[in-house]
Symmetry: C2
Subunit: 324 residues, 2 copies
């Protein structure tokens, strides 16, 4: 059996082999740039790993894997325009480096590429693969819309927030594994359980992201710590703190989240102190554990051999424990 | 055999039957709005007409047809952001009515819907259909990029302009017919000839659009006459005039095309006078005739029965003669 790093290496090599050196350069240059920015390549790694675990051929899944990574990168590219984000993976975002028009259009083109990669999968599976991919595609858009809605919403419930991160992040993690299982010709029950495993791990993954944004080490995480706090993002951490805080602290938290100055370090410190006061970090970890446990129940139901099960457990553990 | 109007009615009914009434409303409202703005529904009409002419079942092609219309509307939605266009089909554009973010994201979602409609085609044809669709999708994006490049380019050649409108418009017209032929299980040579017919008709179609923009009757065409002149768009009309004009007229034309005031009616009048002086309208019609003739050569090679051939000729004629 290969290790997670082995799968990741296969994907990294495959991405490095792609050539977007077409005309017009104004369209394709941002695509080359975006695809080479790196990152964990989590989604495509999951696709080929899942395919391998179910006894499929990695080479039959690698194009679909690339399609999922291309789709993911396309969503980041467009999200960065909508969120006016200046930096992605330590480099200027496409919209900042060039302009919004090129970011819109190169993103659109990447989406076509995503479908084109996926098309290079076994022909008899295309209907099933595109069905999963389209469902995920719509849900990711819905998630992004909810995320934008929440920016200006007076109140967001914890359930609404969890539904948003499910749509925006978890379904694509689940979908990436689902695609791998389909290509390995796992039966439909196994495919469903694999998706459910992935979706639950995806929820834990996003909550860990929220935790790292608040409490992570900037030099490791690669993003400015407290970014979500600085931009008043209503994450689980904030919503949970609001729920538990005394009337006074709650009012203070709401006041702090009305400050628009992103350079206000004192605000970040004060919010973190309130988070600590109400043990938000631990409560977030508890919720992550809930999702992890659900994922493990689905995993057992798949009834894989112990060594294969162990790879998925290692993967889940590494996503739970990650510091970047 | 059905008439062009019959095919169009089938499509209009199919579009009216769609329901985008999902949550979040912020995402789906602009999709409902865009899809119900109307228009000629040319591309999907071509798809089912072509399918029918080749003896296929219209009901097998109608979803793919809807996919092509949805894709086309998605490109218009995103183009309107990039072009800062305030009006589309007499109504505010999505980006003006709501905002750029909702226009970006609802456009992205429409693209997924386009693929999802196309997926509801005969399963054994999915690979061929998606191959055509993806090729067209990339080319349309490339065409839009060239179109944007030309806005700021000092010089654009006539060949470059024709290549741009081929990518931006003609390939989707050809592709819409190609898809219909595939679903009717026409052989690959017939499919290719059908595409070539459509691409050439598509070129004539776009040139007619350019002509109508300059010389059309606003009340019929539905756009402000002279819009391309007002925005200094380097169309075939302008580029041909530049080529033929005396040194003095050429200089004047270039000067006129440096004016940024879109409300300058005097400018429009003077440009039209120069176009008339150099018989640009007739020369554009001549070029349209060239494309029409090429289309007819491809049509003969398909070797359809006379009555079926006649439907495609009628269609081509109606696109050549249209005043809106």
């Amino acid at each position: 059996m290969l290790t997670i790093q082995d799968y990741q290496e296969i994907i990294k090599q495959k991405i490095a082999d792609q050539n977007f050196d077409h005309a017009p350069i104004e369209l394709y240059e941002p695509i080359t740039y975006t695809m080479s920015l790196g990152g964990k390549r989590l989604r495509p790694t999951l696709t080929i790993m899942t395919c391998d675990i179910f006894g499929g051929k990695i080479e039959e899944a690698v194009n679909a894997a690339l399609g999922l990574e291309t789709f993911h990168n396309f969503t980041l590219l467009h999200d960065d325009i909508m969120d006016k984000a200046p930096i992605r993976r330590g480099e200027p975002t496409v919209y900042m480096k060039w302009d919004a028009n090129r970011a819109i259009l190169s993103g659109d083109t990447m989406m076509v590429f995503a479908y084109d990669y996926l098309l290079n999968s076994p022909k008899d599976l295309l209907f099933d693969l595109f069905t999963v991919f389209n469902k995920v595609g719509k849900e990711v858009c819905e998630g992004q819309q909810y995320d934008m809605n929440f920016e200006t919403a007076e109140q967001v419930s914890i359930d609404e927030y969890l539904e948003m991160i499910k749509l925006k992040t978890a379904v694509l993690i689940g979908g990436s594994m689902h695609v791998g299982a389909i290509i390995a010709r796992a039966d439909s029950e196994q495919c469903k359980l694999t998706y459910d495993f992935g979706e639950n791990i995806g929820m834990a993954f996003q909550l860990q992201d929220d935790l790292l944004d608040a409490f992570g080490d900037t030099s490791i995480f690669g993003k400015l710590t407290g970014g979500d706090i600085r931009t008043n993002k209503k994450t689980y951490l904030y919503l949970k703190a609001l729920e538990l805080a005394s009337q006074e602290d709650r009012k203070r938290l709401i006041d702090l989240y009305s400050i628009l100055d992103e350079d206000n370090d004192e605000k970040v410190k004060e919010v973190l102190a309130l988070f600590n006061k109400y043990k938000i970090s631990q409560l977030t970890r508890d919720l992550m554990e809930d999702y992890y446990s659900k994922a493990m129940i689905h995993l057992k139901e798949i009834q894989l051999s112990k060594d294969k099960e162990q790879i998925l457990i290692s993967l889940a553990d590494s996503l739970m424990m990650r510091n970047s």
